[in-house]
């Protein structure tokens, strides 16, 4: 077969691309989790009805942490700004790459006198095993389980999906307990760090 040189390259590249795509591979995922991530495919970006808005008082809750403690939102009232990061589920693609970024951004949170609370609907042993994959040391922020009654806190925040997972959502709450920022994100995408950084900067202008 006689083809111009560019065609040969095109054919080869097309074959490579087709193979890579057919394997269902996502690109640039962390090798830390590689064979342990459940492929969820593309999901409906959002699957819940928002019930909270900026300016509302954040609903209080108490949840168990992977450290074996109980953590309540009111523990921080008057002392710390709070960022709540709900992620849909352990061992899924985007979630597994979100908290490791926050784990190396402690200074950003400290700069705005904020604490981070990470919440999923998974049970404690699952969260323990999963977060241990994120860092050789433990994460600097509390990881809380909204497992039982299932997704109760996610439901209070209006972000429980019909499948039982939560949305991928960020809530920024000031020291008075008022919600200052809400990002109910497309579940398939990771929120950009700078958007959260800007939301934290808003707190300083209070």
């Amino acid at each position: 077969m006689r083809l111009p040189s560019s065609c040969w390259k095109c054919v080869a590249c097309a074959v490579i691309t087709a193979i890579m795509l057919s394997s269902g591979a996502a690109y640039g995922q962390s090798a830390a989790f590689k064979d342990n991530i459940y492929p969820v495919g593309k999901l409906a970006p959002r699957d819940s009805r928002p019930i909270l808005k900026v300016g509302d008082t954040a609903p209080d809750f108490t949840l168990p942490s992977i450290e074996g403690k109980k953590v309540s939102l009111h523990d921080y009232r008057g002392m710390k700004n709070i960022v709540i990061s709900f992620v849909p589920a352990a061992w899924t693609p985007v979630c597994s790459d979100q908290w490791p970024g926050y784990n190396v951004s402690k200074k950003l949170f400290e700069k705005h006198d904020a604490i981070l609370l990470g919440i999923t609907v998974d049970n404690i042993p699952t969260l323990y095993a999963w977060t241990r994959q994120m860092s050789p040391d433990k994460l600097w922020f509390p990881v809380l389980s909204d497992f039982y009654p299932h997704g109760a806190v996610a439901a209070k925040y209006g972000i429980l999906r019909s499948s039982g997972e939560s949305e991928r959502a960020l809530f920024v709450i000031d020291k008075k307990g008022t919600i200052r920022y809400i990002d109910i994100h497309d579940i398939n995408k990771r929120p950009r760090l700078e958007d959260l950084a800007r939301a934290l900067e808003l707190l300083d202008k209070q």
């Binding site: 040969w8 690109y27 640039g28 962390s30 090798a31 590689k34 970024g101």
Partner: protein, 205 residues
């Protein structure tokens, strides 16, 4: 068989290797890395082309031997070998690996016979500029880092997992020949550099 056909066939062989890699899911094992490495060093594979923005920072421009504005390709970097690290701010292994990668850079800079020959760049796959900068600042990454927010470069390169290290032979005029591919981490910066020197042909094994 002419040269171009041969090149096309080489790419097809690589495609077959990638197919195996997709099927087995053992892409991170050393055995696999060696297979790919060997395949790449025995055959001439052109690094897929993608554009990167010319850095604004003058010291980074000087390091890469670039000038002006706009974009550049890996093959235009003034060096004989470029080590490309595809990483992510959000990737725990990349975070742990960062000090070792900096060690590689320091070892190269510490050798007068190598510092003009080997240059390093980082491509922050699916990271925004802010995220790439955060990584660079957190880990004091000493070489230029480029955000690849849409993952275009990662897709062009076929990088499935971060970090991935790619060795590229360049001539500063545009030729960019991939000779090394390590999907995953290395444990020893000296051995990693030795591998680069041997597989690139800069030093005889």
């Amino acid at each position: 068989m002419n040269k171009d056909k041969r090149r096309g066939l080489t790419l097809l062989i690589v495609a077959a290797a990638l197919f195996t890699f997709a099927l087995t899911g053992h892409e991170g094992t050393p055995a696999f890395a060696q297979t790919v490495q060997k395949l790449y060093s025995d055959t001439k594979v052109t690094l897929p082309a993608f554009d990167l923005p010319i850095p604004q920072d003058q010291s980074e421009k000087d390091y890469l031997g670039l000038s002006g504005k706009g974009t550049f390709k890996v093959g235009q970097i003034k060096a004989q070998v470029v080590i490309v690290e595809v990483f992510s701010f959000y990737c725990p292994y990349c975070q742990v690996q960062a000090p070792l990668v900096s060690e590689v850079y320091q070892k190269i800079q510490g050798r007068p016979d190598l510092k003009e020959k080997i240059k390093m760049i980082g491509i922050a796959a699916t990271n925004s500029a802010f995220e790439a900068k955060s990584f660079k600042e957190t880990y004091h990454v000493p070489f230029p880092v480029f955000p690849d927010e849409e993952g275009d470069a990662a897709v062009a390169l076929g990088v499935k997992y971060t970090p991935t290290f790619i060795g590229v032979r360049v001539d500063g005029k545009g030729s960019q020949e991939q000779f090394y591919w390590l999907p995953g981490v290395f444990k020893d910066s000296t051995r990693f550099l030795e591998e680069i020197l041997k597989t690139s042909g800069l030093e005889q094994g």
